[in-house]
Symmetry: C2
Subunit: 195 residues, 2 copies
């Protein structure tokens, strides 16, 4: 898919921030996933949810279907993820998510993803090559500076130009070093988890 070039990025651009809830290590079962619709870095416009299997394979499909079936879908301009893994190693293939939703995807982390470590951890799980391919599909890791010049964040992107993604991350990081939609998605997903 060709990367969308934003003609203009409005301060109240509708972004969806996605994060998962807590779960007990080595547990089986499902983890709640929350999607938060934000107007830029300013205010919350809606909440959606789904659940994904711990170390499962259906995260990309579940997230795409949560988004496409949401009443907010038509207003959304970009999807933001807290990294590309949910519920352990249930990996979101951001290329596939972009293709399925026709929306640009930006995966953001506070720490630089350590691919050597990830590859090693995957070895203990079934279908590790399949998971590894989804991880690699997230592509190049870029360093981005947001509010705090001394603390970088890291992004991987699909269906969006690097410059546009950086602009959107900076514009929406109004309260912390990461976009408000992701900060709030994390607070909600943690706040509703029954561990």
């Amino acid at each position: 898919m060709i990367s969308k070039r934003f003609r203009i990025i409005k301060p109240e651009i509708r972004v969806l921030g996605i994060d998962d809830g807590m779960f007990t290590l080595r547990a089986k079962g499902f983890v709640p996933v929350v999607g938060v619709v934000f107007r830029g870095g300013y205010f919350l416009d809606g909440v959606m949810h789904t659940k994904v299997k711990i170390d499962g394979f259906e995260a990309t499909r579940k997230i795409a279907s949560m988004i496409i079936n949401s009443p907010h879908y038509k207003q959304l301009r970009v999807i933001m993820l807290n990294g590309v893994t949910l519920a352990g190693f249930n990996i979101i293939d951001i290329k596939k998510l972009n293709a399925k939703t026709k929306l640009p995807v930006i995966a953001i982390t506070r720490e630089k993803p350590n691919l050597t470590k990830v590859r090693k951890a995957l070895k203990n799980l079934p279908k590790s090559e399949h998971r590894w391919k989804a991880i690699k599909n997230a592509g190049e890791i870029f360093e981005v500076t947001t509010r705090n010049k001394n603390e970088k964040v890291y992004m991987q992107i699909s269906g969006i130009l690097k410059d546009d993604a950086e602009k959107i991350i900076r514009l929406t990081s109004t309260r912390s070093n990461i976009p408000e939609a992701l900060r709030v998605a994390h607070l909600i997903a943690s706040g509703i988890s029954f561990v």
Copy 2:
């Protein structure tokens, strides 16, 4: 309990907004309840949750214990409710909630509560006199003007002076006619409900 008089009301006063999720009419079981910590009318600081029984009697106790056991408890200055009923007619006795938490309570509704109708509806439920007493404990209904001068909202209060409650409602209604903590609690509770 004597009403707290606020010496000063800071624009970023920590308020807790509480609302319940959706459920199917005539269903049995539990309904999720979400508490949202907001800094004034500005931004979300945390999320807590509990669940209460449809038409049950434990809402006051469950809400009080959710608040007291939260890491945000010490920072909170006021509790805001979307009316005094949760999950059908599981009634929050705001006098008791105020006594248990030592925090002022403001229950807000967009429509003026119709007590004649409520009393009639209660007749079909067990222990209707017990429920009615909790409803009556919410006390006098006051009309308040927030952002939109033509659309009033209604409040019932416990442990707070009328003037202080009005000031806090106006200060925190930054995006709509009701305090931001309640608007967002509603969006989250609805967004995470599995109906």
